[in-house]
């Protein structure tokens, strides 16, 4: 930064960053404030004299209590956790092996296969759920966690494969060649040399996959029907919006509690995650 150009820094760096942070964080603030606001305040008309949407003087936990006691929120959390973890593990295992194969093994059409996998990732879920629901019905998997555990990998595996392929390609080939001369088979070289180096990439892929399946909405909405099978996004929206009545308090409490696991995962792995995204492998 050029000295004496402080206003430039404000105009081009600080103010945009402040705006950006505000836009990103405001929904969370709204979520929190709505969660702890009593119903009497929530449904006050906007032209009432004491209307104040950004703050409350009577914080309450009644919405959270309602959510936990009167709805199946606990079950939804558990469902979502099981489904997200299982499909993440499945997708990671497949993605790591497929990504390695595409990056390292010379087989015919490896390049076009890689592109093909990426293209499948681009097919919108809003189209894909139609044939998939047919398949789910044929296999009689509807309204069970398996419906999601088996369909989430359809978009998670291409994603993980693509991410891992890029990461593996950035690892110098010589490391593996050296390991193979040193006496390791290709599989052992991958296990002892390549995978440990690729841990940041694997973590990034895992975090992403977990987040994607945790937040997934359409498949969960279509493939699950009974309330006790639902995931958090679907459960909260379908059980707390009844007809045209929005139960804003519990709704926001659900959104808030539902986003906590993802936030925890990110905060634990953020350093690895950043290293994975920048793909830093130093010899």
């Amino acid at each position: 930064m050029i000295e004496g150009a402080a206003w430039r820094k404000w105009v081009f760096v600080n103010i945009p960053i402040i705006l950006f942070v505000f836009v990103l964080l405001f929904p969370f603030y709204w979520m929190v404030i709505t969660t702890v606001r009593p119903d009497a305040e929530l449904y006050r008309p906007w032209n009432a004299p004491n209307y104040n949407p950004f703050w409350t003087w009577q914080p309450t936990l009644e919405h959270i209590q309602y959510l936990l006691e009167e709805t199946l929120f606990g079950t939804w959390m558990l469902n979502t956790m099981i489904i997200a973890l299982t499909s993440t593990v499945i997708s990671l295992v497949c993605g790591v092996f497929a990504g390695y194969a595409l990056a390292r093994l010379n087989f015919p059409f490896a390049g076009s296969l890689g592109t093909g996998i990426f293209v499948t990732y681009l097919v919108p879920q809003t189209l894909l759920f139609i044939p998939l629901s047919d398949i789910i019905r044929n296999f009689r998997l509807g309204d069970s966690p398996w419906a999601l555990i088996l369909t989430y990998p359809t978009f998670l595996i291409p994603f993980c494969t693509w991410l891992m392929m890029g990461y593996f390609k950035a690892i110098p080939k010589e490391l593996e060649e050296c390991a193979r001369i040193d006496g390791a088979s290709r599989f052992k070289a991958m296990l002892y040399i390549i995978l440990p180096i690729a841990v940041p990439g694997i973590l990034s892929a895992g975090i992403f996959a977990f987040t994607l399946s945790w937040n997934e909405f359409i498949y969960a909405l279509v493939f699950l029907a009974s309330p006790e099978q639902k995931t958090v996004p679907v459960g909260v929206t379908s059980e707390l919006i009844r007809g045209d009545v929005f139960f804003w308090g519990p709704l926001m409490a659900g959104a808030l509690l539902g986003s906590i696991p993802v936030a925890l995962v990110y905060s634990f792995f953020v350093e690895h995650y950043v290293a994975g995204m920048t793909g830093a492998v130093k010899g």
Binding site: R180, I181, G283
Partner: protein, 364 residues
């Protein structure tokens, strides 16, 4: 310890014929250097010996075993890579022990071998560090250590010194040579640096476009190059070349004349140059075989040249001169006081003249 035998080796990539009919015998305990410009097939040949590239046709034997279809791990070789290829997540000790662990050596034996190698290479204080905490030279030593703990039959080196700075490269070059003398393991070394080739090699293979140009001891290649390419590739500054016409004069005297210089062919070369009378030949003279002429020099070895550039190296002075249309570089004593645009007489050492067939470029 073992010899390496290469028979009619060929490597084809899609369109490129990278290695063409290479035949070579690398003797037991020999330090063999492959040298050539980039893309000449030297690294590909090395990688085929290592088992990292498939062989299209031909045979490679290590010891008495045909290794064509053996995976790298079963060839009993060790390789040092240009970028060291140290495992970044392991300590120096684990890097060196990895090959032995893979081969299920006992812990005590692994420890003993790693300690031995670390002492030889003077890296025993770094055993617990990670590669990224080491300098380039230290990493290079670890890479060497990882190779020698295995006691392999053959060492393979793929341009191991080219990532080091100039001073360290000279130092490591000397250490490599000493290490080879001490261990006596057969070594195959690939480089594009002709100085490394000359100083390290018991014998040197010069390659170009996939063909082996010449195999021999360094000084043999230097003094008796098989063709113009070898002559020009080895030696710095490079050999001077000039196109000359051969003519027979005054009975049996043979002269060659080009644009600007005219030299008498020494008697010992007359038999070989004779058939070219009336035809063109390429003359080659190394810069150090030229000197400032004195009165005693026979007229048949002296020519006139104009100095275009003076490069003082301290130990010697390089003169870029022009004789007619030919540019001739001469290495003369550093004490000579010569300036640009001086006109001077240069004398060629008649025993060190090289002649090459202009069409085939082979030595005459």
């Amino acid at each position: 310890m073992a010899q390496v035998l290469i028979r009619n080796l060929n490597k084809m990539y899609d369109e490129v014929h990278a290695v063409k009919d290479v035949n070579l015998e690398i003797r037991d305990k020999e330090f063999m250097v492959f040298v050539g410009p980039s893309g000449c097939g030297k690294t590909t040949t090395l990688r085929m010996i290592a088992g990292l590239e498939t062989i299209n046709s031909g045979q490679i034997l290590i010891g008495d075993t045909v290794v064509n279809d053996l995976p790298p791990m079963d060839r009993d070789i060790a390789m040092v890579f240009q970028n060291y290829a140290l495992y970044p997540h392991m300590t120096v000790y684990d890097n060196m022990a990895f090959g032995l662990k893979m081969r299920k050596f006992e812990k005590a034996e692994i420890r003993r071998r790693v300690q031995d190698a670390a002492e030889i290479l003077d890296i025993q204080h770094y055993l617990n560090r990670k590669p990224r905490q080491l300098s380039g030279g230290q990493r290079q030593r670890v890479a060497l250590g990882r190779a020698i703990v295995r006691h392999p039959q053959v060492f393979l080196f793929d341009e191991p010194l080219s990532n080091l700075d100039a001073k360290l490269r000279v130092q490591m070059r000397a250490e490599l040579k000493k290490l080879h003398v001490r261990l006596g393991t057969t070594a195959v070394y690939v480089t594009h640096d002709q100085v490394e080739a000359m100083t390290l090699g018991d014998r040197v293979v010069v390659m170009r476009d996939g063909w082996v140009q010449q195999v021999g001891e360094p000084l043999e290649l230097y003094h008796q190059p098989a063709n113009r390419f070898v002559a020009g590739f080895l030696g710095s500054p490079a050999m001077n070349f000039a196109t000359m016409r051969v003519s027979a004069e005054q009975g049996d005297e043979l002269w060659v004349a080009g644009d600007g210089l005219r030299l008498q062919v020494p008697a010992y070369l007359a038999d070989r140059i004779g058939p070219y009378a009336g035809k063109a030949l390429t003359l080659g003279i190394r810069p150090e075989d030229l000197r400032l002429a004195t009165d005693g020099d026979p007229p048949g070895s002296v020519f006139e040249a104009v100095v275009e550039l003076v490069e003082q190296l301290g130990s010697e002075t390089l003169l870029d001169t022009r004789a007619g249309r030919e540019t001739i570089v001469a290495a003369v004593e550093a004490t000579s006081r010569i300036r640009m645009r001086d006109r001077l007489q240069l004398a060629a050492n008649p025993n060190r003249l090289h002649f090459f067939d202009t069409a085939t470029e082979t030595a005459v």
